[in-house]
Amino acid sequence: MSRGAYSVRRVADPAPRPGLGRADFQRICENGFGDGHNSFGHSLAWFQGKLYVGTTRSNFQMVKIQAIFKNLPVDCWPVEGPDDPDGLYRELDRRAQIWCFDPKVGEFREIMRAPMVMGSQGEEVARETGHRRMVVFQGESDPAPALYVATWAVGRSPGPLLLRSEDGESFEPCSPYGILEGLPITATRVLAAFKDRLFTSPTGTRGHGVKFVINVSGNPIIYETRDPRRGKWVASCEPGFGETGNAGVFQLCSWRDQLYAGTINNEGFQLWRSDCEGEPPYQWEKVLERGAARGALNQAVVSMHVFRDALYIGTGIQNGGYDLTNDIGPAGAELLRLNRDDSWDLVMGDSRDADDGSHRVPLSGFSAGFGNLFNGYVWSLQEHDGWLYLGTMDSTIWLRYLRPVAYTEQTRAVVEGVGAERIVENEAGCDLWRSADGENWLPVTKVGFDNVYNFGIRNMVSSSEGLFVATANPFGPRVAVRKGDGWTYQDNDRGGLEIWRGHRPE
C-alpha cells in the first residue's frame, strides 16, 4: 500500500489532548484575598514551586479622579471612592501586596505589603500601589535565579522600584527610586529576559507633557542590564525607534534569537525586533506597522506569546477598547500571528486588505473581539499543556453605568432594544479562550468565570501544578447598585481580583 512521503508506521493519536474546560477550573482566591481593594492580579510568577501574585489596589478609585474620565456620562461611578487625589492618600490603604500559593498546602499566604514612605508633600504614602510585572531572572551577580518585581508607584511616592527576592519570602529593593535613575516614571509594564539580560521600558509618566500618563511613556526606550541587582541600565534603542508616533513600548517577547517589541501608536502599533548583538543601542528592524493594516483600531500590542513556533500578538485600544483621549474606537481587539517567514496571519479580527494587496480573513472565523465589541484587549496569552490560552478584557459591565449618550447610534439601538441590564447579566465578564493549533478556538468562559465583575484576565502562568489565571476585578469593595430611581453603594462580595487554577488530575 502506498504511503507516499510518509513512512512512519505507528503514530500517536492525531487528536490533541483535550484542553482545560470550565469544569477544570477551581477558584483558589476570591474577593481580592478578602480585600476588595486588591483590584488586579497585576503580576504573576511561578517561582521555586509556588505561585506568586502581585496586586494593584483600588484601580477604579484611581481612575475616577483622572481628568479624562471626569466627563464620562455615568449616573454613578461604579465603585465608592474619594472625589479628589487628596482623598486617595487620606482615605485608602494603597499598599500593594504580594501573595504566595503553595500547592502542597493549598492556601495563599501574604508575603509582603508595601511599606509607608515619606511622600513628596511631606506625608507618608504607600511606597507602591501595584506590582505590575514579575520575572524570574538570574543576573551576573545573582547566585541563583531570583524573582524580580517591578512596582507601580503612587504619584506622591518617591518612585517605582525593582524588588528582588532569592527565597520568595523576603523582597528587597535592588534599584534606586525610578528604577532607571533620573527618569520621571511611575511604573514599567514590561520585564523580559533575553540573552542573559533583563529588558524593560518605562510605562507611566509623571509631570511629563503627555495627555494621559498611565500607559504612555514620555520616554519610549527599551533599557537593558546584565545585572539588575547592580543597576547599570543602558538604552538598547533610540526613542520610539526613531518614529515619533511610538508613544511607548507595551510588550517585549523573545522568539527565534530576536527580541520583539510592540508599541502603542495612535496610527496603529508597530512591531520591531533586534538580535541585541554588538554595542547598544542596537540595530532594530521594523516588522509590522499601522496595526497590521488596521490602523488606529490596533492601537497597541497588549500581549505577545510564542506558540508552535509562531509569534502571537494580541492587540487593543487603551482604556478598555475606547481611547477617549485620542478618540480611537470603540473596537474589539484582534489576534495576529507572525510566522517564521515574516508573513502574518489575521487569526481573529476584522477582514481587510493587507499592505501587499492580499485580502485577509480571520482564520478562526471570528471578527474582532471574538465577535464582541466589548472585548477591548487581548490582555493575556499563555501556552499550557499544548494549548494556547487567551484572556480578554471585556467592558460589557459598563453598560450598567453608562448613559445611552455614551454609545454610538448603532450600539444605542442594540442596548435599548435588548436592555442594558439583560446584556450585562448574560454577557458581562471576561473571556478565556483556548486553541490547540492557534487557529481554531473554543471558549472556556465568556462570562468571567460566572462573575460579571471579573472584567479582565490580566495574567496567566503555566506550571506543573496547572494553569493559574489572575483576573482584573476593580469592582470592590463597595459597588454601585440601583435603588429606586437612584443609586447606592453596597458591599460587593464578588469584587476584587480572583485567582483560578485550571487543573485536570491524570
Binding site: 502506498s2 504511503r3 513512512s7 503514530v11 490547540a436
Partner: protein, 316 residues
Amino acid sequence: MGRTPKNSAAGASARDGLPDPVIILGSPRSYSSLVCAMLGQHPETYGFPELNLFCGDTLQDVVEGFTGYRQVQLHGLLRTVAHLYSGEQSIAAIDMAHRWILLRLERRVEEVFAELQRKVAPRHVVDKSPLYSSSEQNLMRLRSRLPNAYYLHLTRHPRSQGESMMNVADGLMAIMANSIDYQAKPPVVDPQISWLEIQKNIVSFLEAVPETRRLQLRGEDVVTDPDSHLRQICAWLGIDQSEPSLRRMLQPEKSPFARLGPFGAHLGNDIGFLRSPALRKGKPHMPSLHDKLPWRPDGAGFSPAVVSMAQQLGYT
C-alpha cells in the same frame, strides 16, 4: 464573513504524498459503521465517521444539500473536525467545527478531504459514507478526485438489510432513499429497490477500478470470523497483520466516534452502532432470497434482478 479563496491547484498538489485512503462502499445498515470503526483501530489507519464530502464539488454544495432533515448528514464531518482540532466532541467544539466549515465553503471537497488526511497522516483514512454509493455521480467524483483510493465493497443480505432499514423509525431511512414501489397499489415502501440500485452502482463503478484496489466482502462473514477477514483486509492494504494490530481492530468501541455525539451533532454513524458499538461475534442468520418479504403487505418477494444481484454477491 470573508471566505478563503479557491485554490484547487494548491489542493491537488497538497494531496501528493498522502497515504491512499480507503473508501467503504455499501448500502446503509450493512455493517459499514462497525467495520470502519474496526479498521480505524489499526495503528496505521484512522476511521472517520460519515464525512459525505464527495456529495458535491465544493463544500458549499455539500452543505447546501444537507439542509432540513438531511442536516444530520453533516454530523460526521462536524464530529471529525471537532475531534481532530480540539480533542473533544462537545457543543463548543461542534460550534468551532461550524466555523471551520464556513471558512472553507468555497474549497473543493478533495482539498477539504486532503486537509483531514494531513491531520491524521501518516495514517490511511477510512471513510464509510453510504451516500457515495447511492449516486453514480458521487462515485464518479470519488474516482476523479481520489484516483488512488482503495474501495472495500461491503455487502449485506438484502432481506436482513431491508428489515434493518424498516426497523428505523418505521422505514424512514427507506423513505429518505426514495425506496418506494410506485407500481404497487397503493405504493409500498420497499428497501430492496434502493439496495439493488446501490449494488448496481457499486458493481458498475468497481469494474473500472484496478483489481488490486477493490475488495468485496460480505459483512456477515466479517462479524462471523473477524480475525481471518481483518487479516485479509490488512494484507490487501499492505498494513501490519500482527496480533496486536488485529486485537486492536476487535475493539471498535474504542473509536472516538463510537458513541452518540453532543447535541447538534449526535449522529455521524449508524444509530444502532452508536448505541451499541462493541463487536458481537457470531454467525448472523442468513435468510432466504426466495420467501415473502415481511414489509410487503401484498406478499411479494425479491425481484428477479435483486435475486440475481444478491447471488452475484455471494448470497443464496
